[in-house]
């Protein structure tokens, strides 16, 4: 990687520690058991959870928040189960996503999915075709799924200040 220099600061780590899921970040002793257990890391050279956490710890805020890496975690929590210091990288990356989202750094697939839920109350309104209705019918399943699409409005105005589509 390029060796541009950086001035270490704990501000970003503190910010993450305040976000839900990020509380335990300071506990990380960089043993690497998360990376060694990570299924994504096993197929992707760029994804190294331990290194990402250290970058948070030394305060590389911009780089981390604008990076796609925190969004690649599949939250399988193998790392959570194995971490010997009770750190959950999965939850730390959730905290990072949350902070990134507040500043508008959201991968389109995420914002799109969220928009769907906030609008329909669930994700697959558009995908629920007549064809599938028939399928359910054949299986003896009711075809009216009866989703509630009112409550999400309240959720939307309370938490998404009128939606995400920046």
């Amino acid at each position: 990687m390029g060796m541009s220099t950086h001035a270490p600061t704990s501000d970003f780590a503190k910010e993450i520690a305040r976000a839900p899921g990020g509380e335990a970040i300071y506990k990380c002793v960089q043993c690497g058991i998360c990376t060694a257990s990570c299924v994504v890391a096993s197929v992707s050279e760029k994804y190294r959870p331990r290194e990402l956490i250290q970058r948070i710890l030394i305060g590389m805020r911009e780089e981390v928040l604008t990076s796609v890496l925190p969004w690649l975690c599949v939250t399988c929590r193998m790392c959570t189960e194995r971490c010997q210091e009770d750190v959950s990288p999965a939850d730390i990356f959730h905290a990072v996503r949350y902070v990134a989202a507040r500043e508008g750094h959201i991968p389109s697939v995420f914002s799109h999915a969220v928009d769907l839920v906030l609008q329909d109350g669930w994700m697959l309104e558009s995908g629920y075709s007549d064809f599938i209705e028939d399928e359910r019918d054949d299986l003896g399943l009711h075809t009216d799924l009866g989703w509630n699409n009112q409550f999400v409005r309240r959720i939307k105005e309370k938490y998404f200040e009128g939606g995400l589509t920046q």
Binding site: M3, T5, A7, P8, R55, G59
Partner: protein
């Protein structure tokens, strides 16, 4: 038994499990031994040192009326005491036992060439059997132990040791070079694990030491001469101010001379800015509600620590070792200071918070968001001082990132090294030093507190880098070793001493000048005067016997005919020895 009685030699060859038998054909060695002159019994055993082996010696001595015992096993350093005891229990004088070292001298150093090793083993056994035939009983010498202990150094180690010995009921002479008691620990004004200062911590201990009737404290003083032998040492102590010297008779001594905190000139711009200090200097800074920069007395906002300064440097004499206490101490310092500071960065090579509760403090430091950054051992940080500002640049291998930090203050966790005068102390007390510069113990695993000089103990950081808790434990341990000798009241010494044959001595003074221990004097009572040996001072090194031109000195247990027999047996194996 009389020396004239014909030798009946028993040879016991030890397998030492796989250690010897794995390389040397012990059966063959034993078989050959049985054909040697005077040998009436031979065997080979799994472990001669085990109770079973010792039992065997006792019963075979009885069964075959053996009057010499040769055991081919390990180094005498290991088991000579064990076997001597065994033959004595069998009713023989301990000097009628001979040990052949088939392990250190054969199997371990010739692992890959078993045949040659076996041949060498056979030679050695043959030589020792020949020598054994000439062994003589020697009288067992014992000496009294003066019930007073000298403790050198009044740091936490010396204080603890002195107090224990005194509480145990023996007199103590506590000598401290500096004007005050308490050593390094007393100087630690803050950052102390229990929160209190070093002085507060030591106060109760010092109070008891001062008030103890059996402890004589000499401050501003140092031991300038030390001679004698176990139980009977003579220590000359000199007052550093008026130079007055006093002599003391002591039975044992505990060396608690401690360590020196390395001044890392040439490392990380130390000395180029008053704001770059060592951990020890930081610990000794006057306690204040807020930490101030030495340079301008402005409050410190940002701080960096660098670990392993002058420690763990391969092939740099006296700096190869790990200083053991720093990882914990820096973690403690950082977690204590962090509340008042904006940022603390901990630059480390590796992290060794090994001890009880150490990890708690390490975790506490991280919880307070002290930044831990690991740098590669082969690419240490660059520290520059540019117009009074400290600038550190290094590679964080954990983030794989080049970092730059400009702290108000930089603390170097510098090594614990042996004090500059250690060599003098070593010479005076006859102690050896390990590669770390500290004194070497009698055995690194099982005898960490005693030394090769009987009656002299080492404790605390004079033995190796360690923390105050470990030093305090050492202190009580070394005190026990001293107490054991004084409680016994008398101990045995070796009888393998040199002796002058007055008939042959021409008083040429060669021996007197050659003796490294000053053990040879002149017996004026005789006419003409001759050289004579002070038994208790003689270490039995044999230098005098070798030097004596007129062959007037007999080195007991290494007499000319004993050694001659060995050479003969080696050079002309076939020939029968007389």
């Amino acid at each position: 038994m009389s020396q004239e009685e014909a030798p009946r030699i028993g040879v016991f060859v030890c397998h030492c499990g796989h250690n010897i038998a794995g390389v040397v054909d012990v059966e063959k060695v034993a078989k050959l031994a049985s054909s040697l002159p005077h040998v009436v019994y031979t065997t080979h055993e799994m472990f001669m040192c085990a109770d079973a082996g010792q039992q065997l010696i006792r019963s075979m001595v009885a069964e075959h009326a053996l009057n010499r015992v040769v055991i081919a096993s390990c180094s005498p350093r290991m088991h000579e005491p064990t076997f001597r005891k065994a033959v004595e229990e069998a009713g023989l004088n301990r000097y009628l036992f001979e040990q052949v070292n088939l392990r250190e001298h054969v199997s371990w150093c010739h692992m890959r060439e078993p045949e040659a090793a076996t041949e060498k083993a056979i030679d050695l056994v043959r030589m020792s059997v020949a020598r054994a035939a000439h062994l003589e009983s020697l009288p067992i010498e014992t000496v009294k132990v003066t019930p007073m202990a000298l403790v050198v150094g009044a740091g936490i180690t010396g204080l603890r040791a002195a107090l224990d010995i005194a509480d145990r009921g023996f007199e103590v002479l506590l000598v401290e070079k500096s004007p005050q008691l308490g050593g390094h620990v007393a100087k630690w004004t803050h950052l102390f694990p229990t929160g209190e200062s070093g002085a507060e911590l030591l106060a109760p201990l010092i109070r008891r030491v001062k008030s103890h009737t059996r402890i004589q404290i000499m401050r501003n003083s140092e031991v300038v001469e030390f001679e004698g032998f176990i139980g009977n040492f003579k220590a000359t102590v000199q007052d550093r101010k008026d130079g007055v010297q006093r002599e003391f008779d002591v039975g044992t001594a505990i060396i608690a001379t401690g360590f020196e905190s390395f001044k890392p000139f040439g490392y990380y711009s130390y000395g180029e800015s008053p704001d770059i200090v060592t951990l020890a200097e930081l610990q000794e800074m006057p306690p204040r509600p807020e930490l101030l920069r030495p340079s301008n007395s402005q409050p410190v906002n940002t701080m960096a620590f660098i670990g392993c300064v002058g420690s763990r440097e391969p092939s740099k004499k006296g700096h190869e070792h790990c200083s053991r206490h720093c990882c914990f101490a820096t973690a403690k310092a950082a977690s204590d200071l962090k509340d008042g500071l904006e940022e603390i960065v901990m630059l480390y090579k590796s992290l060794r918070t090994y001890g009880k509760h150490h990890e708690d403090i390490h975790r506490l430091a991280r919880e307070k968001h002290v930044i831990y950054s690991r740098f590669p051992a082969d690419e240490i940080p660059i520290v520059e001082v540019v117009d009074d500002k400290i600038r550190i640049e290094w590679t964080d291998i954990l983030a794989n990132k080049r970092l730059i930090f400009q702290p108000d203050m930089l603390v170097l966790a510098s090594a614990m090294v042996a004090p500059s005068d250690t060599e003098t102390v070593a010479k005076m007390f006859g102690l050896t030093r390990s590669s770390d510069g500290f004194f070497s113990p009698e055995h690194i695993k099982l005898a960490p507190l005693t030394t090769h000089v009987a009656g002299i103990m080492i404790a605390g950081t004079s033995q190796a880098a360690k923390n105050a808790v470990e030093s305090s434990i050492d202190a009580s341990g070394a005190a026990a070793k001293a107490a054991v000798l004084m409680a016994r009241g008398e101990v045995e010494i070796e009888s393998t001493l040199s002796e002058v044959n007055p008939e042959l001595c021409s008083l040429c003074h060669t021996c007197i000048t050659s003796c490294p221990y000053g053990a040879i004097g002149i017996d004026e009572s005789r006419d003409p005067p001759v050289a004579c040996v002070t038994k208790a001072k003689c270490h039995g090194c044999g230098t005098c016997a070798a030097a004596c031109a007129s062959g007037a000195i007999i080195m007991k247990h290494s007499t000319d005919n004993q050694i001659g027999a060995m050479l003969e047996a080696y050079l002309c194996p076939v020939q029968e020895t007389m």
